[in-house]
Symmetry: C2
Subunit: 409 residues, 2 copies
């Protein structure tokens, strides 16, 4: 059950001029649910993406990298849920390319202007006939107001579709941002995320967009973990249709960029948090803040080590302030020459660890009170420097085991 | 429930001349169970150890390092279960030293000749009064044939005591090896293990013993993982009483050393496998072999990444051949420039992955058949070189969550 997470209000997901979304039931793995999503982009849209660092990058990820690497425009994206098209060899690559061909023919563009995405079971052939049969339905349902339906068509074990939207002013010009994401297991995005699509009508030149997508990922999707397993299909795509009446942002020094970037990070972080709130089997949403680090890398190591420790996660599930496990996890993060006597840790407002040991003021009932909540914040100070980071995660419950033991049945 | 693991036959755990073991119920965390173990060593015994690399090394680990670093002899070891004496600051260090003082007074040696060990809950003060009160019981029960009782006195969430023994001939001299170990969760030993004690009556000079203990750990305890969490209290100690009638092994070139080392690795590996068989909530025992690696480090990374993946472990629990998760885990091991097209994987005798994708001969029913067994072997060939390793692990079941959610209650 997701932690304090409702489906997005379709009306709140703002239309991005230049983006249309369609959906269909292809029956890829289960009947009776939407599992195919098509995005059509207006000519002139700029697209940049970041993708999984898993060595076994899925066939569609390989094709995305290739098509984006050509530097031409992107006119469409096709996304299927239920099958990852990964570990599928030459046939998998051919299937991903064939998906692009089919969409190109339908849309009226070249195959290289189409990006393919897949998510689901690994090591099984993509059922191309089902995708081909469902594509006309996607075309027929294309509409600018279909963000919410699109969000539900890309879900796998997600229990709630994930979407967020905002708008902001750049030098007086109103600009909109809307995004959707999926993914609640096999989830520790690394330089990318599960599937996430963010679109804005702002005008952004391609080189600026490419560095922007990485920075946004690093402050949102790359700060979530459910189980520490990085998917083979992680993909995060940022679309700028350029339909707002503004001169393009063509330089990293453009004063409008930080304003836009903050808006993009806001939407992306809300989607990333939604992923943790809907983490497989989640009963608690946990925010892990690490500061006082020598650099952001070690802050992230500590936060992820805590967020991925099965012992820490089961203690959160049990609402048990077995907080020595936090100390164990910090100690395992591989921080070089950590002076443990400088480490401080607060659980909510309760100081648990000071000077590397149990705080003299700590009382078990205070820890127990904080642990009972369904939203819990950790604040760790390593006492080494000024770098910091925040990671969002969830607990490890019986239902995580259940969901993953029964995933294919 | 442990996987094909019975308690050791007490008669099979051979007496090591020069080693006596005592035990008592101190009531450290729970009443009515043995939780204190004392080892008395004959004068002239040589002792070497390896310990956790967790930054928050527990107080007893710090004292062990200090006492072993003095280079003098070791005459006794005191081990309590139920409390880790970790994250306990100056008081914890004082308590560990006080344990040594008490034992030294009882045995008749100096405090520096005593090694203290603790295992259990982190961040709680060690109940010194209980330990002091139970020490006379340990003294009174000292006996050379008490290995099995000692093994049960150091257990925490273990369901079965762990002991193993062997004997071998060194140039015609009969030499014995006996060991005990505990630990089934917070378990991915790194340069050490949970608590394990191996003793031999062979005569080994200290410098040889020190390098030997590391090599033995690397081929046994450092090759087990239950949940990827390295404990703050991991300790592995190798004792050589020298009571066998042999000239000491004083050089790494001594031809008797490989024979003795093979025997030590045999006993240590059996204990390490027993740990995985009794892993918290285990229903399956899994042996992960990785070969064709460029070096042993990357082989170990791949094996551990598989062994620690919650998704892989839940698939094993479910007996579900969702084998794409294995491919995902291999891809996440951080192997530099892995050519995925050379990767092969066999599940038992069934080839699942060849040339980086699903094997053309693979049939789901073959995978399902192997996955149903309670002992499963994986054989991964990275196709990069000649290095290899083997890691033992278990699956992730509802009971892992249950045990760790309810650990302190």
């Amino acid at each position: 059950m997701p932690v304090n997470l409702l489906p997005p209000d379709p009306a709140a997901l703002q239309v991005i001029e230049g983006v249309e979304l369609g959906f269909a039931e292809a029956g890829i793995r289960k009947a009776g649910r939407r599992d195919l999503m098509l995005v059509r982009l207006a000519p002139g849209s700029r697209v940049a993406g970041v993708f999984t660092r898993n060595s076994f990058a899925a066939a569609p990820v390989q094709v995305c990298r290739e098509h984006l690497g050509l530097g031409g425009g992107i006119r469409a994206m096709i996304v299927n849920a239920g099958n990852a098209n990964c570990g599928t060899g030459a046939q998998g690559l051919a299937d991903a390319r064939r998906s692009c061909d089919l969409v190109a023919a339908a849309i009226g563009c070249t195959s290289a202007e189409v990006l393919p995405f897949s998510t689901g079971v690994i090591l099984e052939p993509l059922p191309m006939a089902k995708i081909e049969a469902a594509l006309p339905g996607c075309m027929a349902s294309l509409g600018a107001a279909h963000w919410a339906q699109a969000a539900s068509a890309i879900m796998t074990t997600d229990t709630v579709p994930k979407g967020a939207s905002t708008s902001l002013a750049l030098d007086g010009v109103q600009v909109k941002i809307t995004g959707i994401a999926k993914g609640v297991g096999m989830l520790q995005p690394d330089m990318a995320t599960m599937l996430a699509y963010l679109a804005t009508d702002a005008a952004i030149a391609s080189p600026v967009l490419q560095s922007l997508v990485r920075r946004v990922a690093d402050r949102s999707f790359n700060r979530v973990t459910v189980d520490g397993d990085t998917s083979t299909n992680d993909s995060f795509v940022l679309i700028a249709t350029g339909r707002a009446s503004m001169a393009p942002i063509a330089s990293d020094a453009d004063p409008r960029l930080p304003v836009l970037e903050a808006g993009l990070v806001d939407v992306a972080a809300r989607l990333a948090q939604a992923i943790a709130r809907d983490g497989e089997g989640a009963t608690k949403f946990i925010t892990i803040g690490v500061r006082g680090a020598a650099n952001e890398g070690e802050a992230l190591s500590v936060a992820r080590r805590i967020g991925n420790s099965p012992l820490v996660k089961t203690a959160f599930f049990a609402s048990d302030p077995n907080l020595g496990r936090l100390l164990m996890a910090i100690g395992n993060a591989g921080v070089d020459r950590l002076d443990t006597s400088r480490v401080q840790l607060r659980l909510g407002e309760v100081t648990v660890i000071e000077n590397g040991g149990r705080a003299s003021s700590y009382r078990e009932e205070d820890g127990a009170r904080v642990m009972k909540a369904d939203e819990i914040t950790l604040d760790i100070d390593l006492g080494r420097g000024t770098a910091s980071t925040t990671v969002w995660t969830c607990d490890l419950s019986y239902d995580y085991v259940k969901i993953n033991a029964e995933y294919r049945t």
